[in-house]
């Protein structure tokens, strides 16, 4: 059977599951049916995509045209939805197909505690179906319909927790930003389709855009899809909406939906717009670098576990954007092999981040389930109560901190190598820019490690800071199984990255005309990205070396020196205090970083109120961190729109005579225009 037909059937199954989910409030078995159906459908999609990537057809990819369109058809143009599977779609389908089933497995155990399950069960399959359809859409109409259904379905999912005020606010911001994004994409596709109006991708590829139109399309795409992906400064909805949704939905939103947005960026900038100058890459790289640094800095000052993870998503999308921008720069200057390296680095990081972030969000969901808390200042010592969750969360945290031999390191290493090759760019400004980008990427990586030490250390280590943390229990078996599957995938991809690179190569061959000749052919162990250079890396060797030596050291020490162990109260320099408030809190852990980075970028300030000796009042410390992007961009725009609409409100209360005068004036104006343009 054709892969595309399989995918079509899978989507149909998902829609069916969505309908079934409407009855979720009544029958508990519906929950299992919906999630199992989603898992099965996504596995089918993944298998189809994998089959396609392993043996891509030499001639043009298969297409499918469905007669679902608008009832009006001007100029006899058949308005139907076209779908097509090519390497780029297949790769992103594969990402979705790996992350989705694992998250679905997690959801079977997690979702049992949902108060109004129908709200989630009805829209979850639609959300997945929307994402799949966006990835295989071959014309602007299908793309935008699928994009909107993806956005709306996820919006409904965010509203599943509608009883909380902050969830409602988050959903509102999300709706506004998503609508703005779709509007921008609509304009972009309009410009791409051009005056002829043929909105099929094949026709857009064949067409030719003027430079101005191409520039506008680029900017509109970056606004529309970039805001969905989470590029600063249009990221503000992400840290509000992703945490507000149920945890498995957050995992999908951060892990899969942001990748779909990246797919949109790649599809338009690399495929549909045609050859662009290198300045497009510069914009994308700059946005990526800023997102990376700002994302991780925002995350460091948060108290909510899921908000920290959401900001980490912003950071990692920034890293992917850096890779994509570099690929555009190299392509604009004709350096195809280097562009391939940069693109492969970006796509590999997209896959790795999807896996790692889903793992972390599922872990956060398990914590939320067990304790009812997202505030890390009230958690602690969960590793004793939830060892499996803790271990898997540690793998995720270590992965996103770019520690070898996990997968996060491989893609960041590859991105650094791509940046290093930037020296071959002929423009001087770009050569200097590469240096700055390298410094910012290094800063991002170092700060990400700090973020995850804080997240894991405060939540899972130390002593419990509240009764809920003391009474936590491990999650159900399906939740643990899902976490272990994701963690295992991360380790496997870290040790054998060429498994993934081999699947990414067809994408780069399709978009840039060139793959990575050095990788994947010689051996599975050594990753040599640039043929002819000596740069190489082997995750397996490092894993074997570290674990092997650790075991040897442990055996030697236990055998020849001592293996006795005794438990005792903590030393604490001789003044141990049993109260858990005396340990470091999340705010205190971030304090040095807040002083160094926060004072300029966030206007971070601390105010300490110390009562005089003898006064029995407690001392107070107030930490203030401001979101300058919100103040500089969103607040003025919102205020401006409010002001404008206030003024415009006068139109509601005019007298009849005034309304008639307005109509008369409009008529006179139009007649004048007609008269003068005769």
């Amino acid at each position: 059977m054709q892969p595309l037909s399989l995918i079509a059937w899978a989507v149909a199954a998902l829609f069916g599951a969505g309908v079934v989910g409407l009855f979720g409030n009544r029958l508990p078995v519906v929950q299992r049916v919906v999630y199992v159906a989603s898992i099965a459908a996504l596995l089918v999609v993944a298998a189809a995509a994998l089959a396609f990537l392993l043996s891509p057809p030499a001639d043009s990819s298969p297409t499918l045209a469905l007669p679902i369109g608008l009832p009006v058809s001007p100029d006899g143009l058949q308005l139907e939805m076209h779908f097509r599977l090519d390497a780029l779609s297949a790769y992103f389908l594969l990402i979705l197909g790996i992350v989705g089933p694992a998250v679905g497995l997690f959801a079977i155990g997690y979702d049992r505690h949902e108060r109004e399950p129908a709200r989630v069960l009805a829209f979850y399959p639609i959300f997945l179906a929307g994402m799949v359809l966006v990835l295989v859409a071959d014309d602007a109409f299908a793309f935008l319909v699928a994009w909107e259904s993806m956005s709306l379905a996820s919006w409904f999912l965010v509203l599943a927790g509608h009883r909380a005020e902050e969830t409602r606010r988050a959903a509102y911001v999300y709706l506004v930003m998503a609508s703005m994004g779709t509007a921008a994409l609509l304009l972009a596709f309009g410009l791409l389709a051009g005056v002829a109006g043929d909105y099929r991708f094949a026709a857009i590829r064949a067409g030719h855009l003027s430079d101005l139109a191409a520039a506008l399309v680029v900017l509109l795409t970056l606004v529309g899809a970039g805001s969905k992906a989470g590029l600063v400064p249009l990221h503000a909805w992400l840290p509000l909406a992703h945490p507000a949704a149920p945890s498995h939905v957050s995992a999908l939103m951060s892990g899969a939906m942001t990748k779909v947005a990246l797919y949109a960026i790649i599809r338009i900038l690399f495929d549909l717009v045609g050859p662009t100058g290198w300045w497009v890459g510069v914009i994308l790289v700059a946005l990526g670098a800023v997102s990376g640094v700002m994302g991780v800095l925002y995350g460091l000052f948060q108290r909510d576990l899921k908000t920290m993870l959401a900001y980490s998503t912003v950071e990692n999308i920034g890293i992917v954007a850096i890779g994509l921008g570099l690929a555009l720069m190299f392509r604009g200057d004709g350096l195809a092999s280097l562009a391939a390296l940069a693109m492969i680095a970006a796509l590999l990081h997209a896959l790795n981040h999807a896996l790692l972030k889903s793992l972390l969000f599922c872990g956060a969901g398990a914590v939320l389930n067990a304790t009812g808390l997202r505030d890390i200042e009230r958690l602690g010592a969960l590793i004793h109560r939830m060892p499996v969750t803790g271990f898997c969360f540690l793998i995720g945290a270590a992965g996103l901190s770019a520690l070898p031999p996990l997968n996060g390191f491989v893609s960041e290493w590859l991105t650094f190598q791509a940046i290093l090759t930037g020296i071959h760019l002929p423009q001087w400004e770009l050569k200097f820019g590469i240096v700055v980008i390298a410094a910012l990427l290094a800063l991002t990586a170092a700060l990400a490690a700090a973020l995850f030490v804080r997240a894991f250390g405060i939540v899972f280590l130390g002593r419990p800071r509240s009764a809920a943390a003391t009474a936590a229990t491990e999650g159900s078996s399906t939740m643990r199984a899902a976490l272990l599957v994701l963690a295992a995938a991360c380790v496997v991809l870290g040790v054998l990255p060429l498994l993934a690179v081999g699947l990414i190569e067809p994408v780069s061959r399709q978009l840039l005309g060139q793959g990575l000749p050095g990788a994947g052919v010689a051996s599975l162990l050594w990753f040599v990205p640039l043929p002819g250079s000596y740069t190489s890396y082997s995750g397996l060797v490092i894993l074997v070396a570290v674990t092997g030596l650790a075991v040897i050291v442990m055996l030697l020490v236990h055998g020849f020196a001592s293996n006795r162990l005794r438990r005792a109260p903590a030393w604490d320099c001789g003044f141990p205090d049993p109260r858990p408030q005396t340990q470091y809190s999340a705010d205190s852990l971030a304090q040095p970083l807040r002083r160094v980075f926060g004072t300029s970028l966030f206007q971070a300030s601390e105010r300490v109120e110390m009562p005089p000796p003898g006064d029995r009042r407690p001392a107070r410390i107030e930490v203030r961190v401001r979101d300058l992007v919100w103040r500089a961009l969103y607040a003025p725009v919102a205020d401006g729109i409010a002001w404008f609409t206030e003024r415009l409100n006068i139109l509601q209360f005019l007298t009849i005579r005034r309304y008639l005068s307005m109509m008369f004036a409009a008529l006179a104006l139009l007649l004048t225009v007609v008269a003068f343009t005769q």
Partner: protein, 315 residues
């Protein structure tokens, strides 16, 4: 086969030499301060004594607390086994990537910071928070130096870098000079030496590294201290390998060249240790938030080094 033998010799030599280097630095510092100081071989006795003691673990500590010393120690040990000391013909050579090296050290630091948070005391938190702040500036500075060297040679593979810098005469390059200064500053910060941190103190105001390992005892403490000694040796070895590679034996060299390589390396380590002792005794420890400026200066020197590379390479 030769490569495997050299790698094993390298591993054992590093392990054997690290405590001696620390002992040398302590003795030199003591002599410079007018004291007699402990014997140079004292760290060996300390480590052996600690290894044989019973490990006392806090009641609130988790599995991570007990596993972290092993992970930290082996991460640093594997990292140091990637740095060519007396020969570039090592079995792990093809995976000896500078960025992977920095990441391995980052991994060691990650687990040490987590171990500091594990017991749930305020000292561990102090150490971890300060260490994270230092690392957030020291890692980018080190990566900038790595960039300078990689752009000069064309790769991040350490073995090839050492061979290239040994073979061609690069002369007194400004970039390498700036890179050396930046690398030394980073090394001082990462190894918790004065002026960033005092390795001989247990006062709350001045601890960073010591605070993170405060709760450790017995064999765990021995491993953590061993890791710190190996880290010092690693940084000195790395600086010698990149900025002073004379004497390194290349692949295909005979036993004579190997002997010269070992002697040259020992000489470089001794000189480096003495210079470190001299530097530590001539400067006072900085306030914690001045360290961020210190490391920021290292980062900017690294940036300057890359920028100057463009000028001199004539690109």
């Amino acid at each position: 086969m030769i490569a495997a033998a050299y790698q094993l010799l390298h591993l054992l030599l590093m392990l054997a030499a690290a405590p001696a280097l620390t002992g040398l630095v302590r003795k030199a510092k003591a002599l410079l301060l007018g004291r007699r100081g402990p014997p140079v071989l004292q760290p060996y006795r300390d480590l052996w004594r600690l290894l044989r003691k019973e490990a006392i673990v806090a009641e609130s500590a988790s599995v991570l607390f007990r596993v972290a010393p092993y992970l930290t120690f082996t991460a640093v040990w594997v990292a140091i086994s990637l740095v060519p000391a007396f020969s570039t013909d090592l079995l792990l050579g093809p995976t000896a990537d500078l960025i992977a090296l920095a990441a391995l050290l980052g991994g060691a630091r990650f687990f040490m910071a987590l171990a500091g948070l594990d017991v749930g005391t305020s000292f561990g938190g102090i150490g971890s928070s300060r260490e994270l702040m230092f690392a957030s500036l020291a890692e980018p500075a080190m990566l900038m130096v790595i960039f300078t060297v990689s752009l000069l040679v064309g790769t991040t593979a350490l073995a090839h870098i050492a061979e290239t810098l040994l073979a061609t005469s690069v002369g007194l390059r400004v970039s390498l000079g700036l890179g050396l200064v930046a690398m030394v500053m980073v090394a001082i910060a990462e190894n918790a030496r004065v002026p960033v941190d005092n390795p001989a103190t247990h006062l709350e105001l001045t601890m960073v590294h010591e605070a993170m390992i405060l709760e450790y005892s017995g064999r765990h403490l021995a491993l953590m201290e061993g890791a710190a000694m190996l880290k010092l040796l690693l940084y000195l070895s790395l600086i010698a390998c990149i900025f002073a590679p004379w004497g390194l034996a290349v692949p295909g060299a005979d036993a004579h060249a190997l002997g010269i390589g070992i002697l040259a390396w020992l000489a470089k380590m001794i000189v480096g240790g003495l210079l470190l002792a001299l530097f530590e005794t001539s400067i006072a420890k900085m306030r914690v938030f001045r360290v961020s400026e210190f490391l920021g200066a290292a980062l900017l020197l690294g940036l300057l080094a890359v920028i100057f590379l463009y000028v001199s390479k004539g690109l």
